[in-house]
Subunit: 272 residues, 2 copies
Amino acid sequence: MKISELVAQIRKKKSFLCVGLDVDMDKIPAHLLQTEDPIFEFNKAIIDATHDYVVSYKPNTAFYEAQGIKGWQALAKTIAYLNTNHPEIFTIADAKRGDIGNTSGMYAKAFFEDLAFDSVTVAPYMGKDSVEPFLAYKDKITILLALTSNPGAFDFQTLKTGEDEVYKKVLETSKKWQNAKNLMYVAGATKAEYFKEIRDIVPDSFLLVPGVGAQGGSLSEVCKFGLNKNIGLLINSSRGVIYASDGLDFAEAARKEAHKLQKEMEVILSVN
Amino acid sequence: MKISELVAQIRKKKSFLCVGLDVDMDKIPAHLLQTEDPIFEFNKAIIDATHDYVVSYKPNTAFYEAQGIKGWQALAKTIAYLNTNHPEIFTIADAKRGDIGNTSGMYAKAFFEDLAFDSVTVAPYMGKDSVEPFLAYKDKITILLALTSNPGAFDFQTLKTGEDEVYKKVLETSKKWQNAKNLMYVAGATKAEYFKEIRDIVPDSFLLVPGVGAQGGSLSEVCKFGLNKNIGLLINSSRGVIYASDGLDFAEAARKEAHKLQKEMEVILSVN
C-alpha cells in the first residue's frame, strides 16, 4: 500500500486510529475459548465491529508466538482475513525485528511476502544494514522504533550523544538510507513535547503513536505538535478498544470505544 | 540450564563452539528438498554429525519465519530433538526480540516455555522493562545485544554518550537489572580490541561472539582478550560449518569443519 492511499482512507473515514490486535488468552471473553480458533474468532469479531472507524490494525507478534504454532496460524488467518475483506486497511506487523543484512532479509520475506503485511516495525539498534532489506520492498512500509512509550525508553533512547539524544540520531541517520521515503517511525505519546522536536527532524513522515489512553498520553497534545499536512499520525489503541468488555458484548463495546476515538479525531481534523 | 553446566560441558568437550542453524532453503543440499520437512532433516543431520564438537546450537528465527507455518513447525521439531537427545547442549533462540514489559513477557513465554530454549537473544533499545521479563525466568539465560558484528553496528552502538559509547552503557546499565547474573552478551568479533574494553565492564559474563571466520574476526585475537576464568566465550559459526558442502556429504563436511574449530579451541584452552 502507498502512503497516499493511507492518507485518502484517513480523510474518508475521518480517523487516524490504529487498533492493536494484542490477543491475550487470559483476557478474551470466556465463551470464545470453546471455539476451534479463539484468537482468530476474537480478531474477526473485533475487525467486523470496528473497521468503519479504524484505518489500521496492528497485531503484535509476541501474543501470537506465545501460543506456538496455533498462534502463528491465527496470525496468518487474521492478516489473510484483512487482506481479503478490507484491502483498504493499512496492516502493521508489530514485530520489532532487526538483524544483520541477510537475516533481516528473511524477516522481510516473512512479513512482506509470506504474511503479506503492508508494514512491519523494526528495531534500529543494529543500524543501516539491518533495516535496508525491509526498505528494499518498494510498496511496503518500514516503521522504525525511535522513541518508545515505555519506562525503559529513558535507559538508552534519550542518552545524549553530542548535541542530540540517541533517538534523534536514529531519526536523522535513517533519513539518509536507501528508499527512506518508505519509513515511518514509532514515537511514544508519554511526553507530547517530544513531538515538536521529532517534527523538526522528520516533518513529513508518518508517526505511529502508542501510549495514548491506557499509558497516559493525551490525544490533543500529541496532535497539537504531531499533525502535519498529510495528517502524519497513526494513533494506536490496543487494550482500551479490544478489551472494552470481556462479556458477550465485547465486539459491540470495542466498536463504541473505537467510535469514541474516531469522533475525537474527526473534531481535531476539522480544525486542522 | 545453569551457566555452571555449560562451563562443565565446555571443559569436557574442550570446545566453546556454537553452531548457528540458519537454514536457508536456497543453500541446503538439493536432495533434502524431496523430504517432507527439509529444514528439520537438515538440522537433524547437522546435529547428529557435529554434536561431539559443539556445546551450543543457535537457530536464528528469521530463517524459520521466512518459511511460514512450516518453518515454525521445523523450529519446534528442532528444539524438541535437541532437548530430547542432547539435553546437555545449550540452546539459543537467536530471535533479537524486545518490546514493552507485558509484551516481552509473551516473547519470554514463547521461547522459554512453549519452545523450551535455554536462552534467547534480546535487543536492548527499549531498555530495562523490555528485558526484565526474560530475566524473570530463573533457570534461563538472556543474551543481550551489546556490540554486533555487522557494519550497521557503527551507526548507533558506537556513538559516544558522555565518556562511553552506547554499547558500553548497555553493558553497564544492564548489570544493575533484576537477576542480571543470568545475562550474557552478544559481542561481535570484527574488532578484537573491543573485547578488552568489554571485559573491563563485564569481566565475569559469557559473551556470544558472531563474526569469527566468514565475517573476518580472528579466533585467537578474540580469545586473547575475551577469555576469562570460566572461559566466558561462545564462538558462533553458522555458514562456515553448516554449508561446508552442498552435496550428499554435507553432514560429514560440517563435522570436519566443526572438528577443525574444536581442535583450535582445544589448543587455546590448553594454554589458558
